[in-house]
Amino acid sequence: MADLTTNFIGIRCPNPFWLASGPPANCGEQVMRAFDAGWGGAVWKTIGDPIVNVSSRYSSVDWAGHRMMGLNNIELITDRPLDVNLREITEVKKRYPRHAVVASLMVESKREAWHTIVKQVEDAGADGLELNFGCPHGMSERGMGSAVGQVPEYATMITEWVKEVARTPVLVKLTPNISDIRVAARAARKGGADGLSAINTINSITGVDLDTFTPRPDVGGMSSHGGYCGPAVKPIALHMIQQIASDPDVRLPLSGIGGIGGWQDAAEFILLGSGTVQVCTAAMHYGFRIIEDMIDGLSNWMDSKGFATIDDFRGKSISRVTEWKHLDLNYKIVARIHEDKCIGCDLCYIACWDGAHQCIHLDRVSGDHHQIPAEIEQRSRMSIVSTPVTKAAQLALNPTKTPLARIPRVDEDECVGCNLCWLVCPVDGCITMEQVQTGLGKQSWEQRSAASPGG
């Protein structure tokens, strides 16, 4: 049985799953229920001078019938009095001493203000601090949040102020709304940060109501850009985590955030260097109970891979990312269609023709590999067919067997191994991408360019 206990920059917790600073970690009652459900830690919703929120606050992107592929919010930091938050932090830590409670902080850019808030939350019992330099909406207009994170000098300066007084570990939460997140990461390190959290939400407008013409979310007929999160942002977050993790000028422990909803997502963030992972949207969507499979699934996967602890695989995939110029130009794969599994949807065919390299053909019966998609469709639509009325004709339909004419053929000589057919195929294992030997040794673009400078 895998051991998920975590010691992240000196903060100990039963597992690496933390609630991210946000609505699910708004109050002590929520945080305690989350700990009861199994969460290892929580980053308290950002504490600062209380604000006033608007309604509505969230909007989302649905995709093909699924809700909340991406979530956007225009909610600000905590709207609860400081003393209430502090009292509840104390209460939670008293009842849950083994769990991590990290206080997310955002106050105006004054040294005294930061010194004061740091002392207050540490006195309340917080295990660590997370400096919110990432919130992209509302607070940034007041010179806080991403307004700090986007200016490296400010980030360094405020981190330094915090470190002057902090007795607990300090995380800096980075904004992705910047052209190179490594610059912000280096600034935080320069200021003395003990670790980094990434990513905060991405500037977004999720959509426009096609009846009212107001973008979402609608606040009395007006909208404002919000912060985007949820499953849709995971690839962006993973990329930024990888960039930070592999930057020799940063080398700080990472708490990964961005679209994590299941144990696979968590494993991926850890493989790219995260020591803990933070979750918000998935908990907002389904509740704290999702933690059960996150822990269970991750443990089972670790067991199956022979990993006893999180550290056994943390960062294992960082070295597998390189610059494009180092990739092997002589590595070749081609698509193979396993016709016993093919259901005849022919999505691979049209994807290859319209979206790739025209090397999948529907010619196994016709023998005509010159026909274009429109001609194939036209043939079907011009055909004269009748309702099969005889038993024999009905039996001949045999919907369990894919007609040979609908099973595509890959022209392996033309296949560039792009993966698209495999990606669109709805059937697991029907299309596999298989290596073919080119007889050539490894050669990268850089090597090839060096070998033939004029080429």
């Binding site: 093909a64 019938g65 259901i343 005849g344 949807c345 022919d346 999505l347 065919y349 049209i350 529907l362 998609p373 194939i376 469709e377 079907s380 639509r381 055909s383 004269i384 067919v385 009748s386 309702t387 099969p388 009325v389 005889t390 038993k391 009905q394 339909l397 919907p399 369990t400 067997k401 894919t402 609908r406 709805p426 059937v427």
Partner: protein, 439 residues
């Protein structure tokens, strides 16, 4: 039976989707390339296209996609034997064993279209050509609509008081109701098609008159009354023709006996038997001269009949209908049969077994032996026939008399609504092309 009781008894067997349920189902469609469902549909409705428009909330676009291929998309969504057509061809059979509910999705799009006012743009302009369509069933409606799309005037002549043919008079009530059929007729009328209901060609107006008054004639006369059973007692009270019985319960006075024997094994026999049950008959028996496997009814129709408690007596060849004391039909006398030599249909001919007489007590005998051919109406005009059916070019509908085109049951001997629509539409195009070249 009150109208409410009738509506309750004949509740739809394929009820409409709730709007969001339709969207969920629509999202399940894989959007196949050159989709097998589209290929399997005789009218080649672009199924994935209309389904994905339901998913995207473009219901009008969805409906127009359907109507572009099949002007009777509403009735087809309700009456098509989808198990052996679009849904039978769905690749989902090989994916998770649950084909997309294409028929009900089509109904969703069509219901939304009709609820929104059934506004279909009338094609601009008109040629000087005009066509007479004989019969107002699906084939004629499809042909006339296609002619209007091509700018050609079309007049439909219908002997009955209402248009729609079997869609109005002949489809089981739990699949399609007359008001829905008539909504489709109204749609076709909105395209500029003229309807002359209650005008019987041959009796009220001659073919010669049509020939001189119109540039082409489309024959969509369908089939006639049920074939006579040709046994003693066939004229007794209590012996009814299945087609007439169905028309009567749908558009006239619903009534049936208590113990009903339906003679025949086709889909009409099932429709008549199930309707008898729903109208209140306690005991309904289908007597068929061949065995279960040779029965021409669709498998799902047979299952439906069994669920309704219909009793089947196989290999029963009726020999006489015997009257009771009141002079009405009181029993059906039969002989057992055994399979003999294969006949023209490839099925083994049912040979009666001497001395195997048995009787089925009843108060009503419904004869469902297939419908008669109406070719005599068309004789003498240079049209050719084959086994009583009009011979027509399948691609154009044109007959041996090139001014006459034909499609539907009078050509195919009795098919599905969607077959009549497909052939009727092709005939409309065939007429337009022919008029363009020769008119």
């Amino acid at each position: 039976m009150t109208p409410e009781e009738f509506a309750g008894a004949f509740a739809e067997i394929h009820p409409a989707f709730e709007p969001q349920a339709a969207a969920i189902e629509a999202n399940r469609c894989l959007n196949c390339f050159d989709a097998p469902c589209t290929a399997a549909c005789p009218t080649h409705i672009d199924v994935p296209r209309f389904i994905k428009k339901i998913a995207s909330g473009n219901l009008r676009g969805s409906a127009l996609t359907i109507l572009d291929a099949n002007i009777l998309g509403l009735s087809c969504s309700r009456v098509c034997p989808v198990d052996v057509l679009c849904e039978g061809a769905c690749v989902m059979h090989r994916y998770n064993k649950r084909p997309i509910e294409i028929g009900r999705l089509q109904r969703r799009a069509m219901d939304a279209f009709y609820s929104a006012g059934a506004d279909l743009a009338v094609p601009p302009g008109a040629s000087a050509k005009s066509v007479a369509c004989i019969g107002a069933g699906p084939a004629s409606l499809a042909c006339a609509a296609e002619l209007r799309m091509q700018g050609i005037a079309a007049t439909v002549f219908e002997a009955r008081p209402m248009a729609g043919g079997l869609n109005t008079y002949g489809v089981a009530e739990y699949k399609l109701r007359p008001p829905d059929s008539l909504r489709e007729v109204a749609l076709v009328r909105s395209l500029g098609v003229a309807f002359r209901n209650g005008v019987s060609v041959g009796a009220d107006i001659t073919l010669e008159a049509l020939e001189s008054g119109y540039d082409a004639i489309f024959v969509g006369i369908g089939l006639g009354p049920t074939e006579s059973i040709g046994i003693p007692g066939e004229d007794l009270d209590g012996v009814v023709d299945a087609v007439r019985f169905i028309a009567e319960y749908k558009t006239g006075t619903p009534k049936i006996g208590n113990r009903v024997v339906v003679v025949g094994g086709g889909n009409t026999a099932i429709d008549a038997a199930v309707a008898s049950r729903l109208l209140g008959a306690e005991q309904v028996t289908i007597a068929y001269r061949r065995d279960e496997n040779a029965m021409p009814a669709f498998a799902f129709e047979y299952e439906h009949a069994k669920q309704q408690g219909i009793r089947f007596v196989w290999q029963a060849l009726p020999t006489a209908i015997v009257a009771g004391k009141d002079g009405r039909a009181a029993s059906l006398q039969c002989l057992r049969t055994t399979p003999g030599q294969p006949d023209a249909s490839g099925r083994r001919h049912p040979e009666p077994i001497a001395g195997s007489e048995f009787t089925i007590a009843c108060d009503t005998v419904v004869v469902a032996l297939g419908q008669t051919k109406l070719f005599r109406l068309l004789e003498g005009r240079g049209i050719e026939f084959s086994a009583g059916c009009v011979r027509a070019n399948r691609a154009t509908g044109q007959t041996a008399n090139r001014k006459y085109f034909a499609a539907g049951d009078c050509v195919n001997g009795g098919g599905e609504v969607v077959d009549a629509v497909a052939d009727g539409k092709r005939a409309g195009r065939g007429i337009a092309e022919w008029l363009g070249q020769h008119g």
